[in-house]
């Protein structure tokens, strides 16, 4: 690492030294805010709200994990600590745009006046045939979105948002999962000193994020909610790495692994969601599943020997 950067980081560490003693209670409070943002994201009314709460969770996670790593590292600011802070913040910045760019293809792209924004000549040239099963669906890779594109996306997201009734069900399951998570955490980690308590709370919150994220992935009816659920689980992992793995070297391996995971997930999402939504013209998973069943039934129906009785 260049000396100037190292000196700068040391100076920043020295400036922040007086607040290190009070940072541990701050971290615990932030962890409970993580649980609160997870609750809000799970019981949200609209997809835009979910994304908003997720972005807030990114900021809280970045601060909590960076503070924890800073305390554990005796106040020294290292590249690992900076990388711990950077990943959630980058996700906070890019996630809404990425999801918007990907799910925009659920509407027909060739309505009059709808071809706005930046479209590459490359993508125009590549699509020389329409998918037979859903005519009119085109897949275009857009990078920059205009204000009207974002408005259109918000309309799609609002239309796909679930009704108020399921919020009560979500609340019930949320608290059940919180109970299970903290029961596991308190059963695994023994001891009543401050270190053990800190670990119990950290593991408990991490498991809450995992379980609730998994719940969102499994039960929510739209693609965006599934992705947010996955990313919340990712946050749980992130917290577990920083809070539970006390050894610096494996922690850096784990952080690298999480960077890989996030990168791979985002790449696949950017490649795959436009295709999925482009064919189905929706982000609703039930409709997507029904469309694919319909396609398969149509294929099966054209086979003379496959009647209802045989299926």
């Amino acid at each position: 690492m260049p000396d100037q950067i190292s000196t700068l980081l040391n100076q920043i560490g020295a400036l922040l030294e007086p607040i290190r003693a009070t940072s541990e209670p701050i971290v615990i409070v932030l962890e409970f805010f993580l649980v609160a943002t997870t609750l809000a994201a799970t019981t949200r009314q609209t997809i835009q709200e979910t994304i908003g709460w997720y972005k807030l969770q990114c900021i809280i996670l970045a601060v909590a994990t960076a503070l924890t790593a800073w305390i554990r590292n005796n106040g020294a600011i290292t590249p690992l600590l900076v990388s711990i802070f950077v990943l959630p913040m980058v996700l906070m910045v890019v996630i809404e745009n990425l999801l918007a760019a990907a799910t925009m293809y659920s509407e027909p792209a060739d309505l009059p006046g709808s071809r706005t924004g930046f479209q590459t000549r490359l993508s125009d040239a590549t699509m020389d045939s329409e998918p037979v099963d859903l005519p009119g669906a085109r897949t275009r890779y857009r990078i920059l979105l205009s204000a009207s594109d974002l408005q259109r996306i918000h309309r799609i997201w609002t239309a796909a948002s679930k009704p108020a009734q399921s919020a009560r069900r979500d609340l019930f399951y949320f608290f059940a999962l919180v109970g299970i998570a903290f029961l596991i955490a308190y059963s695994i980690i023994s001891g009543n000193d401050s270190v053990a308590l800190d670990k119990k709370i950290g593991l408990g919150v991490s498991l809450v994020l995992h379980l609730v994220g998994l719940y969102n992935t499994v039960t929510k009816g739209d693609i965006v909610a599934q992705i947010i659920g996955l990313l919340i689980m990712d946050h749980g992992l992130y917290l577990a790495v920083v809070k539970i793995v006390a050894i610096p070297v494996p922690a850096s391996y784990f952080v690298t692994a999480l960077y890989f995971y996030t990168l791979i997930t985002l790449v696949i999402l950017f490649l795959m969601i436009p295709q999925v939504c482009g064919h189905a013209k929706t982000i609703d998973l039930d409709i997507i599943a029904k469309n694919s069943e319909l396609t398969e039934l149509q294929k099966a129906g054209s086979r003379p020997e496959l009647s209802k009785g045989e299926a």
Binding site: T217, M233, I247, F254, A257, Y261, M272, K299, P304
Partner: protein
């Protein structure tokens, strides 16, 4: 083995250092993938430059580029297969000198520094990956573009690119020692396989790809959490300042003597085995974290391995992917994920001093997988989905074999009195069968997918294929019989060994209906019933596909007898080779492979091996 090469050449090839050989094996698919990137984009650039004026030229250029790339991929797959056989031979020589494994730390690959661990189990899986990849790359040489859409993701060059990168990531899995790098390698397989599942560009294929991505991503997160718990076990051990001098010595070997900062190898499998074998995890809190880690690993990597109830991505993913990719997904990917489970299985058994807990978990998972497959194999109308459910069935059998093999494991290389005359520990018979079944299933399933891929070249609605493609259909029928465990094919051999090992364990443990024996007998009864029902299911599908069942109306699209498709030698030769392979292995297991499998069993059951 020596007769395959002239002796002088063999001696020269065996001089190649092991680290160079391994690094070369990793660089080849990487460079092929890198070289393929401009080929993937070549057509798009040509079309952009010519603005759709001369489509036939672009198609000819792209076809030439695609076939060349396919041939190149196949050529280098052959080189990789030869290199893996060479690796096998080198390992045999090393093992004959009394060395059970080799660690090669700090090996450079691209910008990364990796620790390699080579033992019998990793060599076996490397052979498996390269054999199946060779057949898949052969089939993919002249793979057609997708019927729907024509973006770069639906063209053959992209398929070849994905095959190469997929090959690389799957080869990385058995080589690496570090469990986090192992996780990264398995996660990378998702990247290069998920997009190809949607190759056909239909609603169903993209939905299948999405399901595959979401479910396996969820599983892989849980697998990383399991790995984190293992790291915490080490952390808890260090914090407790153990007084046992053996444990202290091992811990100190993992720490820099000057700075006291733990070295990179803290999460290496061999380091963790060193700790486990000195009893470092025999008491809480380390023991609790090891147990928790194993549970999350079974769920996490079990999702990727297609074990029930996390298997829901399997039928859609394997059913919609192109044939070579289906062969790799079913033949190799799920086995690589199971390889990770085996490493944690061994570690947990040594840590706990007993395999009862882990084997019971695997027994439940194995039986559930086997039973879940049965109704869907019988009722699902789509042949590729049926093949995918067969993967679920056979993974269940493999897991069952491992579990039964572990149930009688006591941590010591001891033999029950009734088997004193037996040359091998009785616990290892079922384990041997399970490991052999990994290869047999991979070969047979690849054969089935590639055969069906050939049939799909002439049309998706084809029936009565025996009259239109007699060679391929004949091989498909024989492959189907092999898949359901008919003799004299290899799957029958491995299933027989598993049953033989199970009955030997019942005899060793004594007939105790409410104990270990009862569990094994119950599992065997369910196993036999399931495989019988599966036999009926697959035969029905095969009859429908190949013989055009007599009560079905004639194909409405044709009024004349169906035309026989002229089958080219390059289409059928690899299938015949695969068929020959599964036939030979059903009659007799070649002794080098049998020795390799025995050594692999010793690795899993930790017989006569000590980690430094």
């Amino acid at each position: 083995m020596e007769s395959l090469f002239p002796e002088a050449w063999l001696l020269w090839l065996l001089q190649i250092p092991l680290d160079v050989l391994i690094t070369g094996m990793l660089y080849i698919p990487f460079m092929l993938g890198l070289a393929g990137t401009p080929i993937v984009l070549a057509r798009e650039v040509l079309v952009w430059l010519h603005r759709a004026d001369n489509r036939s030229t672009e198609s000819r250029v792209e076809s030439l580029a695609s076939h060349s790339y396919g041939l190149l991929t196949f050529g280098f797959s052959t080189v990789l297969l030869v290199m893996s056989i060479l690796l096998f031979r080198k390992f045999q020589l090393i093992e004959s000198g009394g060395i059970a494994f080799l660690n090669l730390p700090q090996q450079r690959f691209l910008i990364f520094s990796l620790d390699y661990h080579i033992d019998a189990l990793s060599v076996y899986f490397i052979l498996l990956v390269n054999v199946v990849s060779w057949f898949a790359s052969w089939h993919a040489i002249k793979f057609p573009p997708a019927k729907l859409g024509s973006g770069p993701l639906q063209r053959p060059p992209f398929l070849h690119f994905s095959l190469n990168m997929f090959h690389l990531t799957m080869m990385l899995v058995p080589f690496v020692d570090n469990l986090i790098v192992l996780w990264i390698a398995i996660e990378l397989t998702t990247l290069f396989s998920a997009v190809t599942v949607g190759y056909q560009n239909s609603a169903a294929s993209w939905e299948a790809a999405w399901k595959y991505l979401i479910i396996t991503s969820t599983g892989i997160i849980l697998a990383l959490l399991g790995t984190i718990f293992l790291a915490d076990a080490v952390s808890a051990l260090q914090s407790s300042n153990p007084t046992n001098p053996s444990i202290q010595a091992v811990l100190q070997s993992g720490v820099d003597p000057v700075t006291k900062i733990p070295l990179d190898k803290i999460m290496n499998w061999t380091f963790l085995m060193s700790l486990a074998q000195v009893g470092a995890f025999s008491s809480p809190p380390g023991q609790v974290f090891v147990v928790l880690s194993f549970l999350f690993i079974v769920v996490g990597y079990g999702t990727k391995a297609g074990l029930a109830p996390m298997h829901t991505w399997l039928p859609d993913g394997h059913g919609e992917a192109p044939a070579p990719m289906s062969a790799l997904l079913s033949g190799v990917l799920i086995k690589c994920a199971f390889y990770a489970i085996l490493r944690f299985y061994t570690l947990t058994n040594v840590a706990l001093g007993s395999a009862t807990f882990t084997s019971c978990i695997l027994l439940v998972v194995g039986m559930f997988s086997l039973l879940m497959a049965v109704p869907f194999i019988i009722t699902d109308p789509q042949f590729k989905r049926v093949l995918a459910f067969h993967s679920l069935e056979h993974m269940g059998i493999i897991v069952l074999g491992v579990a039964i093999g572990g149930l009688l494991w006591s941590g010591k290389n001891s033999q029950p009195a009734v088997f004193q005359d037996l040359a091998v520990p009785v616990a290892s018979i079922a384990m041997f069968g399970a490991l052999l079944h990994i290869f047999n299933h991979a070969a047979t399933k690849s054969l089935m997918f590639l055969c069906y891929g050939n049939i799909l070249r002439i049309g998706e609605q084809v029936r009565g294929t025996l009259f239109r493609m007699p060679i391929t259909s004949g091989i498909l029928i024989l492959g189907g019989l092999a898949l359901v465990g008919m003799p004299p094919f290899s799957i029958f051999m491995s299933e027989y060994i598993i049953v033989w090992g199970s009955l030997s364990e019942v005899r060793a443990a004594g007939l105790d209906l409410w104990g270990r024996s009862g569990i094994i007998v119950g599992a065997l009864i369910l196993f036999v019933l399931s495989t019988s029902l599966i036999f009926v299911g697959l035969v029905r599908h095969m009859a429908r596909l190949t013989l055009n069942a007599p009560d079905a109306p004639q194909d409405k699209l044709s009024s004349s007898p169906p035309m026989i498709h002229v089958e080219k030698i390059w289409e059928t030769f690899p299938l015949l080779l695969l068929l020959l392979l599964i036939l030979i292995f059903g009659i007799a297991i070649p002794s080098p492979l049998a020795n390799l499998l025995s050594s692999s069993v010793n690795v899993i059951l930790h017989y006569n091996i000590s980690y430094p």
